[in-house]
């Protein structure tokens, strides 16, 4: 029986890594996740073979435990499957955060049980179990906060003055209770104190971070859950868990670094400095916002030779990707050269906007990244910004006081004419004034992206029929 169990673990470890490998190329990605899914199914089913290894006290509880396991599996799988199918692609990042947090909680639960039941293991195991429990709990509460923020349930970053002190205090208590564990375990009160502090620490770290930085936080929590799972795998002596967890931990850390680099910020800067404090110091831009109607903007675009479309999260929030693509096609029919420019962190996660445009059917060839398109803006007649703000803010290039200074941006301000479709006069996600909006060559088209684009398409249709 042991041999069968171990073979299943081995097959799973292979399938998970190979699946992840295939996921890292667009052509093979779909088959990669299916392979990994098969691996997961195998290892989950195989884990019921544990019942043959159960001995002593646990044997009497086996029927109840099996029932509980079945219910938990069905409930968890059913709920998550249902939720995952239903959620719109725009809300994907917070869903990833939520599921990731649950994984962290599961790792924390394993740690709790191990510390509760087997405190007599070697010190190394104890330390690893504690570390895994801490990281898992941290990831759980951090991810939940990230989820709540992106869902809009926590609109403002919360930054009271005592936060730093509270943070340090909580961490101190967590470490202190962890150090006391080898001597005092099993002790339920101590364990509870430890886990409460770990959870609080994760929440306090995530609370003051602005929504624009949340993708990095989610990615970091993802890596943390991986590490926690790897640690608990070591404690349980389960190689598949160790390998899968560690692979995700390393891959997730690298992804986090790549994301932070795309925003030109360090992880430490994101975690420990708050966006808002410097934002107030940024110079007011002055100047007037100049509104223009959708029809007039469309007329100009109709006669343009080259148009670059710059989508941001606002486009996705208005579910207007299809309409934008329709506009692009219309403009192409009018003879314009049309390109989509995508900032690495457009949307809520790197690559999020690519997914959303792909969903709308925009061909890959029309989509260009930051490095490829930036030098084309000076030769562009019209740049149309739809629901994007911080990623086109020229302050990132010029204003050293700006919190986003140094972040690579799309140089739309260098185009002949810029139109910005925006819902209202509010600030962007990072809460910063945007000098682009008051620039001489920029006009604002206020309204819901979906409606504005509809008007633009209609206006172009009419113009075309008059010719």
């Amino acid at each position: 029986m042991d041999l069968l169990l171990q073979s299943c673990d081995l097959v799973t470890a292979f399938l998970l890594i190979y699946g992840l490998r295939r996921m890292s190329s667009p052509a093979t990605a779909s088959s990669g996740i299916v392979l990994a899914g098969i691996g997961m199914l195998v290892v989950t089913l195989a884990s019921f073979l544990y019942v043959f290894g159960v001995s002593g006290d646990a044997r009497a509880h086996l029927p109840v435990n099996l029932l509980l396991a079945g219910i938990a599996l069905l409930l968890g799988t059913g709920w998550a499957w249902w939720g995952g199918e239903r959620v719109p692609l725009t809300a994907m990042p917070q869903m990833v955060a939520l599921y990731n947090g649950l994984g962290g909680a599961a790792a924390g639960a394993i740690a709790a049980i191990e510390l509760l039941v087997h405190p007599d293991v070697s010190n190394v195991r104890l330390v690893i179990a504690i570390a895994g429990g801490f990281i898992g709990s941290f990831s759980f509460s951090g991810s939940l906060i990230a989820w709540a923020k992106l869902e809009g349930k926590l609109p403002k970053p919360w930054r009271p003055r005592f936060l730093q002190i509270g943070n340090g205090l909580v961490l101190l208590v967590a470490v202190a209770s962890a150090t006391a564990m080898p001597a005092l375990l099993p002790n339920a009160t101590l364990l509870a104190l430890f886990f409460v502090c770990s959870l609080a620490f994760g929440a306090l770290i995530a609370l003051p971070i602005g929504g624009a930085d949340m993708p990095v936080v989610i990615s970091l929590c993802n890596a943390c859950t991986g590490i926690a799972v790897g640690f608990e795998g070591f404690v349980l002596n389960h190689p598949a868990l160790m390998i899968a967890g560690t692979v995700v931990g390393a891959a997730g850390s690298l992804l986090t670094l790549l994301m932070a680099r795309a925003m030109n910020r360090s992880i430490g800067n994101i975690l420990f400095s708050s966006f808002g404090e410097t934002a107030q110091a940024a110079a007011p831009t002055g100047g007037q916002l100049k509104p223009i109607s959708a029809e007039d903007a469309a007329t100009t675009m109709c006669y343009a030779r080259k148009v670059i479309l710059v989508p941001g999260y606002g486009l996705a929030a208005a579910h207007a990707q299809q309409k934008l693509y329709e506009l692009a096609k219309r403009l192409q029919e009018e003879g314009a050269e049309v390109k989509f420019a995508i900032h690495p962190v457009a949307g809520r996660m790197p690559g999020h906007m690519d997914v959303l445009l792909a969903e709308a059917g925009v061909p890959y060839e029309m989509i260009f990244g930051l490095d490829e398109i930036n030098e084309e803006f000076p030769t562009t007649d019209v740049a149309l910004v739809v629901g994007a703000n911080d990623i086109v803010n020229p302050a990132a290039r010029t204003d050293k006081g700006s919190p986003i200074y140094g972040m690579p941006i799309l140089d739309v301000d260098k185009a002949q004419q810029v139109y910005v479709i925006k819902r209202g006069q509010g600030k962007g996600y990072a809460g910063i004034e945007n000098a682009l909006f008051t620039a001489d060559n920029c006009r604002m088209v206020y309204g819901d992206a979906q409606e504005v684009l509809l008007h633009m398409v209609q206006a172009i249709k009419e113009l075309a029929s008059q010719r």
Binding site: G37, F48, N65, Y99, A109, F234, H238, L241, L254, L255
Partner: protein, 107 residues
């Protein structure tokens, strides 16, 4: 949990080391377009934690253990299932049959 795969001392450290390198290499040189699906995919993969939780639950002898184990399995299963569905849905977008999967050519 069993003698055959007992990972002790440095053997475990080697396993951590190699797995970490594997994870790093698998992700390095990935186009930005796949960052989100990959994050979701790796999120799914650490859903394997459900197996550890199952192990803990099946060996539980007291009510607190059973309660925590139940929650662990519940959360772990949600992590795995949710991660899978979300990843599949995202990757489906790259599979619409268009010849649009060529690497982005720097022009």
């Amino acid at each position: 949990m069993n003698e055959g795969t007992a990972l002790t001392g440095f053997l475990a450290v080697y396993l951590f080391l190699l797995a970490a390198f594997t994870g790093y290499e698998v992700i390095a040189r990935v186009p930005a377009i796949l960052h989100t699906p990959l994050m979701s995919g790796s999120n799914f993969i650490h859903g394997i934690v459900v197996v550890g939780a199952l192990y803990a639950l099946l060996h539980a002898t007291t009510v607190p253990e059973q309660a925590i184990g139940f929650l662990g399995v519940l959360f772990g299963a949600a992590n795995a299932a949710g991660g899978y569905v979300v990843t599949v849905r995202m990757l489906r977008m790259f599979h619409s049959g268009k010849p649009a999967k060529l690497p982005r050519n720097p022009s």
